[in-house]
Subunit: 299 residues, 2 copies
């Protein structure tokens, strides 16, 4: 990460020689928690921006392209998701998307870093609005009683919960920071155990197709040791590295079809819920890979 | 455009508040032609980079994602493309892709700025190799006798050629520079007249979905005044603004289906030609739009 003049640049050794820049209007918060470095700034054109350990997590302008896709690709692959777990996701974006589904009875959010939630409530209100009122462990959200927030380690939480969740969304930061262990086989086994029999996982795959395809391949292979169905999807987000982010979808039941929505959005959405990015056609097309990627990723 | 230290940043008033940065290893050429400012540099991680009027046109690392898509979306929508025109495209990337099709008998490249070809021959050899030997008007390429290069204004060239081309690829720079008139109705009418009855156009749409959707909508509407079939596709290119570029596909015959390949790649490709990005599935998926775009663009 570098700030030069009034520009933030997402520089990292993980993507050498390239850096997306966002122009800063005002720095809103800069600090270091027990877990990571946190930066929040108001940008000139992308709304407020949340940065963890130098990596853009969300901007108000394009966050929906990630939040909707990681959430609805999983939710729409399950016939009747009632109980949902979000690991990470302290900005609240995935929780907001999960709540659009009328089948949902409960969403648990497990975030290790309280500061991320607090800053999101303050600076990313449209993403975090359903986390409002999380202060006491297990207290219901003021805006939706289906939401329960837990400030703890996702790894530990999963070990204590088996056979409970229809959907788990692993909305973590990249493996360089506190989320490091959330990209290993032990974690995938815990995810699998926490799922119900028809359960589906969506996780951000950290790597995109333009960076380390070997790492992406290795991640998919590790997932495949645990889950019988593993597919790679991607979504386009201008402020994410290389403009693209990979998502790994995994199912516990070998007959699950993740690559096509299993129901109609109009039938499952709650009230006036609507999407800006996700639709049933984009569900299927998000699994289509360029030729050079197919050598590494089997879909 | 800005160069700070050893970084090139693609800054522009057309995309305020954002700037993709590419790290410079060595500046190879910096100059101003009659038509535009030209910069070529060797980057640390993206190979050699061609920049016109401050906008990245191609990097050796990801150029195929654009060159293959703009070319093959059009070529694969036509049953038997024999004669092809590329307007702009002085880097030679589209010509290279066109030549992969065994049906092709002749490709004319019309580039207004000789410097772009000369620099591409020198610094982007894998893109420009089929332009080799262009020095005399109408002289055949040394590497492929099907190629003919013309150094002249595309507008003027089109006015002198009617009912001749099965495919026209409008591979121009953005409308702010010398390509300004190549985004207006008069140009689209000339394109239409230059096509044979089953002819297909592919043009870079300048705007991507994250910038000015109103301009994109207006461009599509203008095209629709001339062509009975107009569809919008997109391709992901990390070093293009917002990581995405829009392509407009237009057909002269109202029964043309642009959104599905009309033949098998294996059947039409020449010898050992292969693609890194394009495949038949990605052809169809490139026309699928996020929900927020569908309000502006009808596909």
């Amino acid at each position: 990460m570098a700030i030069r003049g009034d520009w933030f640049y997402e520089e990292s050794e993980s993507w050498p020689g390239q850096a997306f820049g966002i122009r800063i209007k005002k720095i809103l918060y800069e600090g270091k928690t027990m877990f990571q470095e946190v930066l929040v700034f108001e940008s000139t054109d992308y709304g407020n921006v949340l940065v963890l350990d130098g990596v853009v997590q969300a901007t108000e302008r394009d966050e929906f392209a990630y939040q909707e896709m990681i959430t609805h690709l999983a939710m729409m692959s399950h016939q009747n998701p009632q109980k949902v777990l979000v690991v990470g996701g302290g900005d609240g974006g995935c929780v907001r998307e999960v709540l659009k589904h009328k089948s949902v009875q409960r969403v648990d959010l497990v975030e290790i870093d309280r500061t991320v939630i607090d800053l999101s409530l303050k600076y990313l209100p449209e993403m975090s609005k359903y986390l409002n009122g999380y202060e006491s462990e297990n207290q219901e959200s003021k805006n939706d009683p289906r939401v329960h927030v837990h400030i703890c380690d996702g790894f530990k939480y999963l070990a204590e919960h088996t056979d409970q969740y229809d959907i788990i969304i692993s909305d973590t930061s990249d493996p360089d920071g506190p989320a490091e262990q959330l990209f290993g086989k032990n974690y995938f086994q815990l995810l699998n155990q926490a799922l119900t029999s028809q359960g589906v996982i969506a996780m951000q795959a950290s790597e995109n197709i333009w960076l380390r395809l070997d790492i992406l391949k290795s991640l998919q292979e590790t997932c495949s040791e645990v889950f019988p169905v593993v597919n790679y999807a991607s979504t386009c987000v201008p402020t994410y590295t290389s403009g693209q982010l990979g998502l790994l979808l995994c199912a516990k039941d070998k007959n699950t079809n993740l690559k096509q929505p299993q129901k109609s959005w109009e039938d499952v959405k709650l009230n006036n819920a609507s999407n800006k990015y996700y639709n049933e056609k984009i569900h299927a097309s998000s699994f289509v890979l360029p030729t050079f990627v197919k050598r590494f990723i089997s879909n």
